[in-house]
Symmetry: C2
Subunit: 755 residues, 2 copies
């Protein structure tokens, strides 16, 4: 089962339209919630006048910060963010009040009738300006710098002294919206003694924590269940709690079920985006291409709240080197508040901007040293025994070197790269390579763990409960494969119930940990049961437990498959013999120490590695860029399900392409001017390149289920750099600011030609 391209267990329900998304739910006496949002980017709330709105027939209530029975605090990394604005608003689109009514139209109309009076305050939008501004987004903090990070490894001055070449550039990246098919939403149902919230979420236990805090309840009084999720990409990790808490607040106050579904405009104006970054990057290398030092300054624009920003920044900081050995490194990171929509989790976290910079630098170094892009990378690439930028020793499962070599081969990189450099004419081709690495799961000595609960029913069918969410990535299918493999039974008899606080806290479905880290608990619980069942099978078969084979729903003595016991019969016997047929699975990952001051130590339990080669065609006259094909390679341990992984690769490359070439939020005075999917352009099927057969280097991870590491975010990370490097290969123009729109390239080409 494991390693096979098994069809998704939720394929049919999704294809047939039977999957239930938040908006598909309906409960008797249900209220619909609409948002009253700030119309200014910064200001004090003088008065909220709901009197007119409350008079509208069908309005059930209007709720502001004053109605929160618990604590109006939803900040993730820092306690800086209210569920509903209190005292002041810090960005245009911030939620000030919730309107609940009998139907969504009435709620919408009532929301418009709520009059909020503000005392406007001067606002700050540019992060560089904000770093030294007197305009403070959070006065009580005394500064707009929400968080700083550092890496201090070796001696960078000495490192640059040893360098024969030095390359120094500033890179800029913009916002990116998740643009999921389904916007944010949740429906809360009050029940005796607790409240259940069904949501479009990524981490039920976090939703539970924040919802219970807002309501002033015990965690045990708040039950969270994921609905089918129409795309998440990190955004619903951050937004899940914000919508579950809002829906729950209304349900709690009114005693009625309450549904909140963000409109697309709500989503675009008010939900977190990928943090824009400014990265000043200096790299030094010896004449034979060995990196001697890097010095990096990262400035992330956090928007009005820190949210995940500190972790996004840490991730960027700890991956600043790219997947390379570098003896000397100095990195400084700054997370800066501005009066714009707050930023947050997005596939790749801080890595897409960071690897864009790092991998552009590698090509620049290669250029200066007359090396080809593959050579320079292989000279520095991480391998078993390497020390990372945080001086974490990588003992095993570091297959990126092999991945680079194989991918260069299958894409015929070197030949094309040399050939394309010489090409002429209006339409020119280019090829680019870029690597990426990505620490799996949580970081910096913060413990990580896995958890699951499995119950085998009397007929041998199995339910596995986990907190891990199915957000389109296929994790539940991977989990079912793990159970199937461990127990030796067909996958049809396995039901995965995920994304629920009924299961033990399994951690978030983020950081590419769903199938891998999330799968460990599943593996452990299944293995516990397997062990118990094997004993019974051995007794019935008259052999030792070591000799018992269980496969495809039959248990037999190894080598004697004709004399078997049917799984169903075996389970029945176990029940009769008093064998416990349910088990929890738990695993606490090894954690190291981390020196926060120097940014040195155990940063992540494991890393996945990725390489992309992109081939582009550029129109030298218009600046039009067409990505023709992308070859991806993964060194991410065991590939549990190649079909699912291909899906992830394709999706990530498409999303990376959008980030690299077209997606751009346009702000004016803190107001998003293109808060719709007509003007905020994402790739269509026409833009998506051919994704070639992936290269897998299955360097097993000792703690992963069957050796698996994470794959979900990987292929997005190097996509922008691979494309930009290919553009350079085609045109000789290096784009340092994303998105690399045709317009930008057009002017750059013009400038290059001296027009």
């Amino acid at each position: 089962m494991v390693g096979k391209g098994v069809r998704r267990i939720d394929a049919l329900e999704k294809v047939l339209g039977k999957a239930k998304y938040v908006e598909d739910y309906f409960f008797d006496r249900m209220l619909y919630i609409r948002l009253v949002k700030s119309t200014i980017p910064h200001g004090r709330i003088k008065k909220i006048d709901a009197s007119k709105a409350l008079k509208l027939p069908g309005v059930a209530g209007i709720f502001t910060a004053a109605d929160i029975p618990g604590i109006n605090q939803v900040g993730y990394a820092l306690p800086d963010q209210p569920l509903l604005a209190e005292g002041k608003v810090r960005f245009h689109g911030e939620v000030v009040a919730l309107v609940a009514a009998e139907d969504p139209d009435i709620a919408e109309e009532a929301a418009r009738l709520v009059k909020v009076e503000y005392d406007p305050l001067p606002a700050v939008f540019d992060p560089l300006e904000a770093m030294n501004s007197k305009i403070l987004v959070h006065e009580e903090k005394g500064s707009n710098i929400a968080e700083t990070t550092k890496v201090r490894k070796g001696d960078v001055n000495k490192g640059f002294e040893q360098a024969d070449v030095i390359v120094e550039n500033t890179y800029r990246t913009g916002h990116q919206d998740h643009a999921y098919l389904e916007t944010e939403g949740a429906v809360a149902i009050p029940e005796p003694g607790r409240i259940t919230v069904i949501g479009s979420i990524q981490y039920p236990h976090l939703c539970q924590t924040i919802t219970s805090r807002v309501l002033g309840l015990d965690l045990a009084q708040v039950r969270i269940v994921q609905a089918s999720v129409g795309g998440a990409f990190g955004g619903k990790d951050d937004m899940g709690p914000l919508v579950t808490a809002k829906a729950a607040l209304v349900a709690y106050k009114t005693g009625r079920p309450a549904m909140l579904v963000y409109t697309r405009e709500d989503s675009l104006t008010s939900h977190c985006k990928r943090d824009p970054a400014i990265i000043e990057y200096k790299s030094g290398a010896t004449s034979d291409g060995k990196l001697t030092a890097i010095q990096v300054k990262i400035i992330l624009d956090s928007g009005a709240y820190a949210n995940r920003g500190p972790f996004v920044l840490w991730r960027a900081t700890m991956h600043a080197s790219g997947p390379y050995e570098v003896p000397n490194a100095k990195v400084d990171g700054f997370l800066v508040y501005t009066n714009k929509v707050f930023e947050g989790s997005f596939r790749g976290f801080g890595n897409p901007p960071m690897q864009f910079a790092a991998e552009s630098q590698m090509d620049e170094l290669a250029e200066k040293l007359n090396l080809d892009p593959v050579e320079i990378r292989l000279k520095n690439i991480l391998k078993p025994g390497s020390l990372t930028i945080t001086s974490q020793r990588l003992d095993s499962s570091v297959g990126i070197g092999e991945a680079v070599k194989k991918l260069a081969e299958v894409s015929d990189f070197k030949k094309k790269w040399v050939e394309y450099r010489k090409s002429e004419g209006v339409k020119r081709r280019g090829i680019g390579i870029a690597c990426g690495w990505h620490g799996i799961s949580t970081s910096r000595g913060v413990p990580d763990w896995s958890n699951a609960y499995i119950n085998i029913y009397k007929d041998g069918s199995v339910v596995c409960e986990t907190g891990i969410c199915e957000i389109g990535q296929g994790t539940h299918t991977a989990h079912a494969q793990i159970v199937s493999e461990v127990l030796g039974i067909p996958i049809e008899h396995i039901k995965i119930v995920g994304g629920t606080t009924d299961a033990p806290d399994t951690g978030a479905t983020h950081a590419s940990r769903g199938s891998s880290i999330g799968g460990i608990g599943v593996f452990v619980a299944a293995a516990k049961l397997r062990e118990r069942i094997e004993k019974v099978a051995a007794k019935l078969l008259g052999c030792s437990t070591e000799e018992v084979e269980i496969k495809e729903g039959r248990a037999y003595r190894r080598g004697d498959p004709d004399k078997y016991i049917e799984w169903r019969e075996l389970v029945k016997k176990c029940y009769e013999m008093g064998v416990e047929m349910s088990a929890t699975g738990y695993f606490f990952l090894p954690k190291g120490t981390f020196d926060q001051e120097k940014g040195q130590g155990f940063a992540y339990p494991a890393y996945s590695y990725v390489v992309n080669v992109a081939e582009v065609e550029v129109d030298m006259e218009t600046g039009q860029i067409k990505v023709l094909r992308v070859w991806p390679a993964l060194a991410a341990g065991k590939i549990l399900n190649p079909t699912l992984v291909e899906g992830q690769l394709e999706g990530a490359i498409a999303q990376g392409l959008g980030y690299a070439l077209m997606e751009e939020l346009v702000f004016k005075d803190g107001v998003i001017l293109n808060a719709n999917l007509t003007d905020y352009v994402i790739p269509t099927v026409e833009d998506v390149p051919e994704v070639m057969k992936p290269v897998y280097v299955e360097d097993l991870y000792q703690y992963g289920p069957f050796g698996a590491k994470g794959v979900g975010e990987m292929a997005l990370i190097p996509t922008p750099a691979a494309i930009v490097n290919a553009i350079y290969n085609a045109t000789g123009v290096r784009i340092k600011e994303l998105p690399a729109t045709p317009e930008k390239l057009y002017f750059a080409l013009k400038k290059m030609r001296g027009d």
Copy 2:
């Protein structure tokens, strides 16, 4: 916590009307189901014509046996019962088809429009007649005797030879309807990949088994959740699966949520009742009052299907002696099919009729031997070391002797008994005593087990999942007390989620096993967690785990309560340190062997004992009987919650009183003539006697949680005998047929007076 009269954890939701019963649920596009029932007691189904009904606007479908995708078999003890009649009907009121429509009125009308043509067959209604009749309820069985049971202990002939007195009587008892406040019901909701059914049930995993069988699905594809239950008393153990399967069938076939709620008429005509019994009882004793032998013949009228009948009969058979030592016993039981509504589980199972007979016999023997009722009982009463009628040695927890003594004392029994015998006049008082015993849980070597799952959330609040249902008895409160006691935390932070197949199979909530046997798994799971947490507490407190005290949400070193760690903090530490905070609890009860042929061996893992003293006032002219007060005594191990137990005692006494004095189903040719609660009379508040402060003999049960045994059914069991013995004490008339209506007593008094 344990042993305290803690308020029910569901008290508020019930008092405030917030509890959700099946009928309180509503789902979008929900269909309402009504039943098409047989209008004859016995006959072949020639044709079901639904054409007219299907034309009625709003009718969504009509479903018969032919529509069942799985197996049309819901028999519990024997595979003799279809979900929907197939081929023939065997009782008036049997369900032939299900009608589903947009609203209940349309469904009702459509049900009337379904024309079922029958070929009527001769029917048999009297069990004695049925035993030798050529009219067969189930032709394929060749006999109407569904099951026979036997006990063969010692040599009864020799036993009767040794007897100085012999008493021989035939006792008869009638049907009893559970008459719960809420009728049977379930609502099924199709979901992607599975179906959820919310029902008024007593055993979710049984509902799951039968529903999945009918639908042809895996158990893992059927999820059962109990709704709030408005009374169950055993009836919903049997009926739960029948309604969940029916609702699920409609939901499965239509793809829409479907609700079935029995009308009161449906309930009275079509749901199982307490099996009527005919008991021929011969007892022998020596002149000093020691029992030498009993010979008993039990005939139970099973109605059209066996259902639980074989187990009801076994229970009657194995308790035939009453809680007394008897060296020689011969018992023969017969379960007989008739063309009447099928019988089934009811509080006390086979014991209320059996103990009515056995305890009437004891008084008769006492009378003949000139002993008082207390004396003769104490001479024979079971005690540690005794062998039961099945030769099971009772090693411990046999406190009934003490219970009899204490209860006789507090009720001033002997004095009153002597005094009342002499009373004269129209209104006469009488006092009666009766004992009962009741094997807890399942029987005859069939294994029993307990199961639970507990999760401690990060804030220290706790969810405990169990399959045990809250059916009004307060079991979930008892479970919360167990968790509270074991973990040392306030009960407010504990949420019990019960009655769900999300939990491991915990067995049924019947046989008085909910709090006791069901509580073992809860105890084990909590104890596992306690042990893990203690280790962390010991580390933090710098002491040994043995010294750790956790009480009222604080952990401290024993004797040093001022230096403590708050529970919440302790749990947080556990999470940080990688301690698994969820656990399953499992316990497989010791099982013995049982010889089915001789009815000898290990019958039950434990017995609870009960004694009632009833004081009555009889009108010698009208036969009117007023039960003035009842003193109950329990020897049922640790009393986990005296308030809850008092509730159980009062309810059981009321229900026993109804059974003893008034409840009577009137049949004519298999048709129930009083299928409504106006004509089927149950006790009102005016009829209920004063229940005196109970006597508890807390003889701990080694495997029960904190030593608890079952209590739920107990006080019903001896109530009829205590009342009838009291009537005899008052009047000199012995009633041998229940109910002992005023009419019956009036004629008996008349006869006694020779009128």
